[in-house]
């Protein structure tokens, strides 16, 4: 992460510490990642709405969002 001034840095820390109660966690997200990926590929907003807990999780979990990125890429290979 690039250095920032005090306010931007503390904002980054605050964002990291915030948790979303809707976050379903890795287990549930991985269970439906294939469904989420196909829907997100067609309509990202609809995927986020229909799978709000998964979307909340993907926004916070680097490994699961990396898996989703790979899955989306695989759909077009």
């Amino acid at each position: 992460m690039d250095a920032t001034d005090g306010s931007e840095g503390t904002a980054a820390l605050d964002r990291f510490l915030r948790t979303d109660p809707a976050d379903v966690g890795c287990g549930d997200a991985m269970t439906v990642l294939h469904e989420y990926a196909e829907l997100a590929d067609r309509d990202p907003a609809l995927a986020e709405a229909r799978y709000a807990g998964v979307a909340a999780h993907l926004a916070a979990c680097g490994p699961c969002s990396e898996d989703l990125a790979g899955l989306l890429a695989a759909l077009h290979d």
Binding site: M1, D2, A3, T4, D5, G6, S7, E8, G9, T10, A12, L13, D14, F16, L17, R18, T19, P21, A22, D23, V24, G25, C26, G27, D28, A29, M30, T31, V32, L33, H34, E35, A37, E38, R50, Y51, A52, G53, V54, A56, H57, A60, C61, G62, P63, C64, E66, D67, L68, A69, G70, L71, A73, A74, L75, D77
Partner: protein, 219 residues
């Protein structure tokens, strides 16, 4: 954390023709099944190699090591697909469902590979790294030093030993989450949950000590 990821419980659906053909081949007998297995192995191997190449620039892995990771991931993904074939209900195309196992296995293999050349021990506690982890500029120490001290206090006073270990590994030492999973013989969900709880506790501690604003609804 919440549950029921789709918000509703969804049942089986009609299979598309391609997915139905995959299931027919993989549940057949004799030569037909062998052909299906070979086709599946080819599909997963190609997907695994594409995926490791996609991730390679961020991993610092190349050449035969990268190919080994892809081949191992494809083999284990194939085992997972076959073991869970009865659970495929057509919620997506069969190939999308199968590709997901490739992604999970590539992540797991990359996490294991990290320990061949670890950049730092998972349990090392160098708290001087904390400001850099959030991009806090040393030129503005006065603006964030109380907050960083507060985070350290929260870790000491609010976290369980397990949560502390996970926070130190993931945040201070930047150990990849899937590598922590390997080291602790755990799973991604459990490690994520420990960090999730640690984040929530640390923020609550900082709010209680007037180091962060409590802007939750109703506060």
């Amino acid at each position: 954390m919440a549950s029921d990821p789709a918000g509703t419980t969804q049942g089986a659906r009609l299979l598309d023709a391609d997915s139905a053909q995959w299931l027919e081949e993989l549940t057949a007998q004799g030569a037909a099944r062998e052909a299906g297995l070979a086709r599946l192995h080819d599909l997963l191997t190609r997907a695994a190699h594409r995926e490791v190449r996609r991730r390679a620039p961020r991993l610092g892995i190349a050449g035969p090591e990268l190919d080994d990771i892809a081949d191992q991931a494809a083999s284990d993904a194939m085992l997972a697909v076959l073991a869970k074939l009865d659970g495929f209900r057509g919620e997506s195309r069969f190939t999308t469902w199968a590709y997901a196992f490739v992604m999970f296995e590539v992540s797991a293999k990359v996490g294991r590979h990290f320990w061949r050349h670890p950049t730092v021990a998972m349990d090392t506690e160098d708290w001087d790294r904390l400001p850099d982890r959030f991009g806090l500029d040393p030129a503005h120490t006065a603006e964030w030093s109380d907050l960083v001290v507060g985070v350290r206090r929260a870790v000491d006073e609010a976290l369980t030993p397990h949560q502390r270990r996970i926070f130190v590994a993931l945040v201070l030492n930047h150990t990849p989450l899937d590598s922590v999973v390997v080291e602790l013989d755990s799973n991604r969900n459990a490690i994520y949950k420990a960090l999730f709880d640690a984040r929530r506790k640390i923020r609550a501690f900082l709010v209680a000590n007037d180091l962060l604003a409590d802007d939750t609804p109703g506060s």
